[in-house]
């Protein structure tokens, strides 16, 4: 999966997991996910941690990384690419 595909996949996954009432094309990859952006909150952050684990086999080193990793779709994609298990690269 290249980065572009990963971004699209992430949008789909997030919409599904968080039951967001938006379409994938309405999400801008660089826009903030929390607060003024998509309006996500601390509960969603916990959902995203499990999503990363389940779908991308990426375990956040610690929960404090969350806010940085989950800033936007872009930052999530970067984190996934940087931390992909060797076998998947």
């Amino acid at each position: 999966m290249n980065r572009e595909q990963l971004v699209e996949d992430l949008k789909q996954q997030i919409i599904e997991q968080l039951n967001l009432q938006v379409k994938p094309e309405e999400i801008v990859a660089g826009d903030p996910l929390f607060n003024e952006g998509l309006g996500l909150d601390s509960i969603d952050a916990l959902e995203l941690i499990v999503l990363m684990q389940q779908k991308y086999r990426i375990k956040l080193a610690n929960a404090e990384e969350g806010p940085k990793v989950f800033q936007s779709i872009d930052t999530m994609a970067d984190y996934i690419i940087a931390h992909q298990p060797a076998a998947n690269k």
Partner: protein, 422 residues
């Protein structure tokens, strides 16, 4: 001035004791009941310390004298409520389960008596898990085949079914209800009981709550990443989260008339209470502690107390970053720098969810009666750093007349109770 509501009886079962006396001894001796999972079947047994009641379901059933399939929640609740009723010295005549009443025949007065006075007795219990401990055992078979799974395992699923079983066994029938407002549930049950007595609807109310540990709650709290994998440190700056506990705590509330008829010295009253909502987030508390501030303020207003008159606060103090920050902010807003003494006894029992308000009400009443303060354990760097505020070791000869007991829960439900020496 509203009519006084007296505390006539106490009952408690928790990780630190099977009755009130054992609980109090543990508190005095600094003996926490937290440790590795021994009774609950869970994959996380090695992961998270919990505060279990030290008995198997079979042992609890024997103590209750019950047969058949019963939720641990119902058994814990029954044991604590029964202790409270017995402590109050009320007697039941003509109850179906009561040999003496049955053999005495129809000529005898039926129902509860305080001495010579017939009383209307209610049971107002609280639970958040109900019979989930059994339902989660039922589910694997049921999911595999909708016709499978023993129905006896879901018969007590509903929270109300737990209270119903307790009421039947206790012989309480004038009024029975259950409150479920997450971790503030039993504080609200006690409040409801007091209001029913004050409004003349009942003379006696057995009020409190019960919750057993379940995989459902353990896993639920784990998804929120607020379980501590070590022993919890409420109101410590380095706190990491909460330990779940289980148990039940009940008080017997009585009207002045019943108090007189019981002929005991009635020394403690429920002088104030308030239920407020934080209205901030489904699970998180507001940074400024709106709900807890409003609850404590409201209870103090009802009791007619100034901040300086509050001697001690039994904190909600779960040990999560969020709760303790919010609660301490609310306390600071009310008391400024003139803090009352405070501690979280959840460092002994774990967080017993819907039962905590009941268990901590029992501790609070004993504190007033014995003029002593129970500690919060394992504090290294206190959240409130003013020296001498946090109670860290058991203290005797405390000069306290009024205690606030805080219970806050999911859904922004915040309730505070004030117990006072007469």
């Amino acid at each position: 001035m509203a009519a006084p509501v007296y505390i006539a009886g106490l009952g408690a079962v928790s990780a630190i004791g099977d009755n009130v006396q054992e609980n109090i001894s543990s508190l005095k001796e600094g003996r926490a009941g937290l440790g590795p999972v021994r009774y609950l079947r869970t994959r996380h047994a090695e992961m998270f310390p919990v505060g279990e009641v030290k008995a198997t379901n079979e042992e609890l059933a024997i103590r209750c004298g019950w047969t058949g399939t019963n939720s641990r929640t119902a058994m814990l609740g029954y044991l604590a409520a029964k202790e409270a009723l017995e402590d109050a010295g009320l007697s039941l005549h003509g109850h179906a389960g009561d040999e003496a009443g049955r053999s005495a025949g129809s000529g005898m007065t039926e129902g509860w008596m305080a001495g010579e006075l017939a009383c209307r007795v209610g049971l107002i219990s609280a639970t958040s898990v109900g019979g989930m401990d059994l339902t989660e055992d039922f589910f694997p078979a049921f999911m595999a085949n909708p016709k499978a799974g023993k129905l006896s395992q879901v018969y007590q699923h509903e929270c109300g079914a737990i209270t119903e079983k307790m009421a039947l066994e206790l012989g309480v029938s004038d009024f029975v209800t259950t409150i479920s407002t997450a971790c503030s549930s039993s504080a609200n049950a006690i409040m409801m009981g007091a209001r029913m007595i004050r409004s003349g609807l009942l003379d006696v109310v057995v009020a409190g709550g019960t919750d057993a540990l379940s995989r459902f709650t353990l896993n639920g709290f784990n998804t929120l990443m607020i379980l501590d994998s070590q022993l919890c440190q409420p109101f410590d700056k380095g706190r990491r989260g909460l330990n779940l506990g289980e148990g039940a705590g009940f008080v017997v509330l009585v009207s002045e008339q019943v108090a007189k008829a019981l002929g005991q010295s009635m020394d403690v009253v429920l002088s104030g209470y308030c239920n407020a909502n934080d209205a901030h987030h489904q699970t998180a508390s507001s940074p400024e502690g709106i709900g807890s501030y409003t609850a404590m303020k409201g209870a103090m207003k009802m009791a007619g107390l100034e901040p300086a008159e509050i001697g001690y606060i039994n904190l909600h103090g779960t040990g999560t970053q969020n709760n303790d920050a919010s609660e301490s902010t609310a306390i600071q807003r009310i008391f400024g720098d003139a803090y009352p003494r405070m501690s979280s006894t959840k460092s002994f029992t774990g967080h017993t969810l819907a039962a905590c308000g009941g268990i901590e009400a029992v501790y609070t009443v004993v504190s007033l009666r014995q003029q002593c303060l129970f500690p919060g354990l394992r504090i290294e760097v206190p959240v409130i750093d003013k020296p001498g505020v946090m109670v860290q070791v058991f203290e005797e000869d405390a000069d306290i007349r009024h205690i606030i007991s805080n219970s806050f829960g999911f859904g922004g439900n915040c309730s505070s109770l004030i117990f006072s020496l007469v």
